[in-house]
């Protein structure tokens, strides 16, 4: 349990009121979030406590600090402390203790010492128009900073929609030429792997899970064609939405505050972008406050914030383009028929048949009584 830099992390955590049990629980939650086997929780705990704290440099470009805020405001007990103890956050423009030249020096020192080993987190889009002059830090453009820092990093994690695909700054007419980290690296032919965690802001657990996966297994989680981890962005919001049965049954809220809206019907006709947005919001939820804590859960259509070409691009209340699930041509009825009662014709037939059968049986019984059998009259009847 002794870490290389001389700090016994477990003891340290206990001093801060985090028991070993709580710590393991946290690691297990992270493992589950990634869909890993339960045993991975212990492995993550081991990786986190025995290694030298991995250096993380955080580069902010055209951003609103929402992603950082989300991460810090996480109400998950001790998360903020854990994350600050688990990684060695050597540079972060919002959280740096020092500023100016001091901060710059810390960044350069860490880059020198941890060349090829540190994780670079990028937050915000990179302006490329006019040589990238629209965002400068310490006199350098974000573009050149990214080029410099990414080329020596082990991996780049682009947090938020801006860094992942351009986000809000890249919306038309895009005056600054806002571009995602991934595209900038491609432009500059830098081969460092990139993971995108889009969202505005993204769910902090999607980010933390990715970081811990990398620390534990020394490789990046499985990614989709847009560089997003599949464990979080593998399915459409529509697929896991709790209002999905309303969609399938054709029960829609037609405007805010109407009867259907108050009853929690599907928000598709209010412009919900769930059917074209890949994210795990309905399953992961936000703010650790329990059920319903996500946009659709609170009665607002999904905005598609994490999907390129949807959020910040298509008007909020335009209907989503359905990817593969289209509403049925005929909707099943809402009030089911509860059966039909007696009709005269039916009763007449039943009574007639029952009467005929009983009558025939009675006549047969009577005739059987006559000692002389054989021949004679009538019919018989079935059963």
């Amino acid at each position: 349990m002794r870490s290389v830099d001389g700090l016994d992390i477990a003891k340290n955590l206990e001093k801060q009121g985090v028991s070993r049990r709580d710590f393991l629980k946290f690691c297990t939650v992270m493992a589950t979030a990634m869909g890993l086997p339960l045993g991975m929780g212990a492995k993550i705990a081991e990786a986190v406590t025995t290694l030298k704290r991995p250096p993380v440099l955080w580069l902010s470009a055209q951003e609103c600090t929402g992603c950082t805020e989300t991460l810090l405001r996480s109400s998950h007990p001790t998360l903020e402390k854990l994350i600050l103890e688990l990684i060695s956050l050597d540079y972060h423009e919002t959280l740096n203790a020092g500023s100016g030249h001091q901060a710059e020096e810390s960044r350069l020192k860490s880059m020198r010492e941890n060349k090829g080993k540190y994780i670079l987190v990028v937050d915000g889009s990179i302006p490329v128009k006019d040589g990238g002059i629209y965002c400068k830090i310490g006199g350098k453009t974000a573009l050149s900073l990214l080029e410099e820092m990414a080329s020596q990093a082990a991996a780049v994690i682009a947090i938020g929609s801006c860094a992942s695909w351009g986000g809000m700054p890249s919306s038309s007419p895009n005056p600054t030429g806002a571009t995602s980290a991934q595209e900038v690296l491609k432009m500059k032919a830098i081969k460092t792997p990139v993971v995108n965690i889009p969202g505005c802001p993204p769910n902090q657990y999607n980010f933390l899970s990715t970081v811990l996966y990398f620390l534990t297994l020394k490789r990046l989680p499985e990614l989709d064609e847009n560089g997003r981890p599949k464990f979080a962005y593998g399915r459409l919001i529509h697929e896991n939405c709790e209002r999905r049965p309303h969609f399938d049954a054709g029960r829609f809220a037609m405007e805010f505050g109407d009867d259907g809206h108050r009853k929690g019907y599907c928000l598709y006709k209010l412009g919900c972008k769930g059917p074209e947005t890949y994210n795990n919001c309905p399953a992961q939820l936000f703010g650790d406050v329990g059920a319903g804590a996500w946009p659709v859960g609170t009665g607002h259509p999904c905005f598609g914030c994490s999907e390129k070409g949807v959020g910040f691009t298509i008007p909020l209340h335009s209907p989503a383009r359905l990817k593969f699930i289209t509403p049925p041509a005929n909707f099943p009825g809402i009030a089911e028929e509860r059966g039909k009662g007696v009709t005269v014709a039916a009763v007449a037939v039943v009574a007639g048949v029952a009467g005929a059968a009983l009558g025939a049986a009675a006549v047969t019984a009577k005739n059987l009584g006559k000692k002389d059998e054989g021949q004679a009259d009538t019919e018989t009847k079935e059963r």
Binding site: E336, R338, K340, T343, T380, E382
Partner: protein
């Protein structure tokens, strides 16, 4: 053993024409059902997914068709060879009864075009009662036709084939006893799993035993009933001595049935429900009176050998078994407030059509195939 031979005579008679007419109307309504769906002809709903096609055609119908089972049990398992002459006509009725029950399940299955999935192993749900019943009934229909095959072979003079089949027939006879024992009790289990939807008057853990015993008694009754009715209809001498011996088995069986039935109701403290005066209570009383009457009648040896009382007892028992099954499946079944069911005109006519086809088939078979014993020299 008595020789069997065809009765001969005209096929087209007045009953034949009447039955054909009903069957034709039923056929027309069935075309409507298959084109426009169940809702166009039935009164079935989500609350009452099973109507008279299941309650009568399948549950009561297969119990009426238990003659073959009851006789096989008696003749081959308990080795009472003297009843052998009753086996073949009983088997014929069973064969028609079960085949038409199978057919009417097909009418009742909403998505009938997917029914074949049942027999695909990868879709089989081995823990389902419905699966067991479906598989048992399907297999038993095939077994019944095989059991009856020697009669066809005899008719068409395929003697070597018949002898070869007779050597392996014991397997099918054994199956013919095993399969009904399984599914006649499982039919009760179908209701048991409906839980509290079924009135406590009928919902009990003993329902499997009750279904099985009542199916066997119905099997004996239908043999007596059919023997008397066909003797009268076809102007043959009655087989009273053998029938009255057969009827001797019924009082003990019904005694066990009634003892279990009431011991269970008293044990669960639900007997009071029988006297509340509502439809369920009254149907319960009718059902059990119909059981008690033949039990008492058949206890007396003199009544047992009187064709009238034999006939009355058989009819009473058949009605008792039918009412019991209707009570369990429809009258005692309450899916919740607001639901209602009464069969539609078309549903009833289709059921009558099936019965008509059964009668037509029976008449043709006994007239053209060696089914009935040739004991009447007249």
């Amino acid at each position: 053993m008595t020789e069997s031979k065809p009765l001969g005579g005209k096929i087209i008679t007045l009953p034949f024409l009447v039955c054909s007419f009903i069957a034709a109307i039923a056929g027309f309504l069935l075309i409507k059902r298959f084109i426009f769906g169940l809702g166009s002809v039935t009164n079935l709903s989500d609350g009452y997914p099973w109507g008279i096609w299941i309650a009568y055609d399948v549950v009561v119908g297969t119990a009426f068709a238990c003659g073959g089972y009851a006789m096989a049990l008696l003749v081959y398992v308990f080795n009472k060879g003297e009843y052998h002459q009753l086996v073949r006509p009983a088997l014929l009725a069973s064969m028609f009864g079960y085949t038409l029950a199978g057919v009417s399940i097909f009418f009742d299955v909403g998505r009938y075009w997917q029914a074949y999935n049942l027999i695909l192993p990868r879709y089989s749900q081995l823990y389902s009662v419905m699966f067991e019943v479906a598989l048992c009934v399907t297999t038993y229909i095939i077994v019944l036709w095989i059991e009856f095959t020697p009669t066809f072979l005899k008719k068409f003079n395929k003697e070597t084939l018949r002898r070869r089949l007779n050597r392996t027939l014991f397997i099918f006879i054994a199956l013919g006893v095993l399969l009904p024992t399984m599914h006649q009790s499982s039919l009760g289990l179908l209701v048991y799993i409906a839980g509290q939807k079924v009135s406590p008057l009928w919902q009990t853990g003993f329902i499997l035993l009750l279904f099985l015993i009542s199916a066997i008694t119905m099997g004996f009754s239908i043999v007596i009933f059919e023997s008397i009715v066909s003797a009268r209809a076809l102007k043959r001498e009655m087989e009273i001595p053998v029938l009255s011996k057969l009827a001797g088995y019924i009082p003990p069986l019904l005694g066990i049935y009634l003892a279990v039935r009431f011991w269970d109701l008293v044990g669960r403290e639900k007997l009071g429900l029988a006297f509340t005066g509502d439809l369920k209570a009254n149907m319960f009383i009718i059902e059990n009176l119909l059981y008690i009457i033949p039990t008492i009648l058949l206890l007396s040896p003199s009544k047992r050998s009187n064709p009238r009382w034999l006939f009355v007892s058989a009819v009473s028992m058949l009605l008792a078994g039918a009412v019991y099954r209707f009570n369990v499946f429809l009258i005692g079944f309450d899916p919740g407030p607001g639901w209602q069911y009464f069969p539609s005109f078309s549903e009833v006519v289709i059921t009558l059509g099936l019965i008509s086809i059964e009668i037509i088939g029976y008449m043709i078979f006994v007239k053209r195939l060696p089914v009935l014993p040739s004991l009447s020299q007249a």
